[in-house]
């Protein structure tokens, strides 16, 4: 154990005192802050008034009804909490021309020139709109809502209901989002659900899961190139006289865990300070932090050992880059699975994916942080799976490391690595 700790200490200090690590530590918050800055810049235009041209072929007052619906929905709702920032639409009715295509071309050019945001055409078959939108904004949904609200007004008017009653009937009802009601396990007292404020409740666990992925990557990925570099520099043979391959690998994995925990502590402390500064400390997921660290340690042990093994099999750092996908895929894959889990956190698919050991740390942590949480046994089962998987990976990795560390020549392919695992 003394040798493992000695190797771990040297490797840990080498990592955390390197310029790359320190720069990376600062760059990530800058990137996140920068992305918020870019969003703020992108939203600078949002909130301004945009012109919408309506061409009404029905002749039945549809355009006027839509204009009225738009006027009413532009009033701030009493129940509004936080709504995504949107532009104000200024609807202008344009009389239909004989050559419809020529008129639409002219208005399309107005859109291209930025003078008009959208052209809405209503006829007996329905409504359609023309815009420059790439489809990621809310313009389509807003126009659809306005058209339908307007046409409902037309239909109700046709049924003989007067304008005042129509407005009263179509008035929005405030709907407030609440958190679930809980029961204090000690006193049995029922704790009412709180009114949700600010960002969606999934944001904090989402960022925590992303942070976990980052620290796992920061802890394990550098081993790949560093081990290949050390191997190319012929460092290991001198070390192998003093320490067994297992001691060497264990020391390096321990150093990876240390680097990950240092990164985690830095970011979590920074996050707490930000939340405190914004007077939103109640959003801090304190109950998730023990799980965060447990998952981080298990995941870095698993992927750190794997990256050490891959690095030892490579002849050069360039070769290590070619094998990097074997490390990156299990780390990055959960990020592509987060969206369906955010939508249905307790579906069978979400449960199954979060119990798959390589994905467990990120996905289970995410589900634990979402409203409703998960059954108490799922995190324990997931953690047990990750630990079992980590042990299996460490065992296989140590067999690859033992052979790879002294091997020379070309980098083995995946089947050869499997052969090393089986033959030892």
């Amino acid at each position: 154990m003394r040798k493992i700790l000695l190797i771990a200490k040297r490797d840990y200090l080498q990592v955390v005192l390197s310029r790359g690590y320190l720069a990376g530590l600062v760059v990530l918050p800058l990137l996140i802050g920068g992305s918020f800055g870019v969003m703020a810049l992108a939203n600078r235009g949002v909130g301004r008034t945009e012109r919408v041209a309506i061409i009404d072929h029905t002749g039945g007052g549809a355009a006027a009804a839509i204009l009225e619906a738009a006027r009413q929905t532009s009033q701030p709702a009493a129940s509004a909490s936080i709504q995504p920032p949107v532009s104000q639409y200024k609807f202008e009715e344009v009389k239909p021309e004989a050559d419809e295509n020529a008129q639409l071309l002219s208005l399309s050019n107005e859109i291209r020139a930025g003078r008009v945001a959208l052209v809405l055409v209503i006829d007996s078959e329905g409504a359609r709109y023309y815009s420059n939108s790439a489809g990621f904004d809310q313009s389509g949904a807003r126009v659809r809502d306005l058209v339908n609200a307007g046409l409902r007004r037309v239909r109700l008017a046709q049924l003989g209901i007067d304008d005042a009653r129509i407005s009263e009937a179509l008035r929005d009802v405030p709907v407030t989002a609440m958190n679930l009601v809980k029961q204090d396990p000690g006193t049995g007292k029922i704790i009412p659900g709180e009114k949700r404020t600010g960002a969606p409740v999934g944001v904090v666990p989402y960022f925590l899961a992303i942070l976990l992925m980052v620290v796992v990557m920061v802890g394990s990925a550098p081993n790949l190139g560093a081990i290949a570099e050390d191997k190319m520099q012929r460092v290991f043979e001198m070390l192998l006289c003093a320490a067994t391959p297992f001691e060497l690998m264990a020391g390096k994995v321990l150093a990876s865990i240390g680097a990950s925990l240092t990164t985690s502590a830095f970011y979590i402390a920074g996050g707490m300070m930000v939340l405190t500064g914004l007077a939103t400390f109640q959003l801090a997921p304190l109950e998730l932090l023990p799980w965060f660290f447990a998952y981080a340690i298990a995941a870095v042990a698993m992927l750190g050992a794997w990256s050490v093994a891959l690095g030892s099999a490579c002849a050069t750092p360039q070769d290590a880059q070619h094998l990097a996908y074997l490390l990156i895929v299990p780390v990055m894959a959960p990020i592509f699975l987060m969206q369906p889990i955010l939508q249905q956190p307790n579906s069978v698919l979400a449960t199954a994916l979060s119990l798959f050991p390589p994905f467990t740390p990120v996905l289970m942590l995410l589900r634990q942080g979402l409203p409703g949480g998960v059954p108490w046994w799922e995190p324990w089962l997931g953690l047990a799976g990750v630990l079992a998987c980590a042990l299996a990976v460490i065992w296989a990795a140590s067999r690859i490391f033992r052979v790879g560390i002294l091997s020379q020549g070309k980098t083995p392919k995946l089947p050869e690595l499997m052969q090393w695992v089986l033959a030892g």
């Binding site: 000695l6 520099q233 290991f236 043979e237 001198m238 006289c241 067994t244």
Partner: protein, 306 residues
Amino acid sequence: MIPRMQAVEFTGVTKTFRNVTAVDRLSLAVEEGSIHGFIGPNGSGKTTTMRMIANILHPDSGTVRVFGEAPAGTRSGTIGYLPEERGVYRKMKVHALLEFYGELRGGRDVSPEIDRWLARLGLGHCAEQKLETLSKGMSQKVQFIACVAPEPKLLILDEPFTGLDPVSADALRAAILEIRRRGTTVILSTHDMAVAETMCDSILMIFRGKKVLDGTLASIQASYSSDTIRVELENGGALGPLPGIESVKDLGKVKELRMAPECDPQQVLQALAARARIVSFAVMKPSLRDIFVRIAGPQQEEVAVA
């Protein structure tokens, strides 16, 4: 007289890599406190043998004993190993690196020994420099210090003089001899036959994984007859055919003749005297270099596995 303990004993040791036999049923004994030289062509199995002594590789069959004990874990406290393929953490400072290796090998702070060795090998001023700033020779000396600072009982040096200038090589040679005088057993491999002849108490030659020579220089030479003539002629010209001479090697001013078993050196002398004025003429046993070339020369091949 009490016989000395064997520092290293191999009994029928075989090591193969896939289908290549690197070491083939090798038996050897290295006497404690001696300098034992390993010679042999590239790829003959010297490095594999040294790695098995250092317990970095394990034999497929046969037994390896170091100071009477079978291998268990690493032998870091007992053995200092300087591999042929040398490397260090280039970003570390010299003293910090040596402290790390010293603690890893010896399990204790070896700073006083490090300071003494740095001064002894003229590297005292480099203690706080990063390894990447040192020359190859200086870096090699640092690695040597990493091996000897924990004061091992057995020092294994795989081609320690390769790449060193004559001054550094002399300094290293003196250091090795001093270590031996303190009782440390030294095993070194070399391609320099002069080093093997002058430094080593006994010599082992491995060829294609098999032991082909083992003993003192005198005992090895004793197994060969005095079949070599070294002659220097005044005009230094070509010799032409001579009675009973199998081959002639031109060493420059001196020619080396190898006699057939039935050859009479007196007849050779007479034949030479009839052709030219003789400056020197000596009948001798073959040098270690000659013996090496006789064994490995005709079929010498580079073997892929060390």
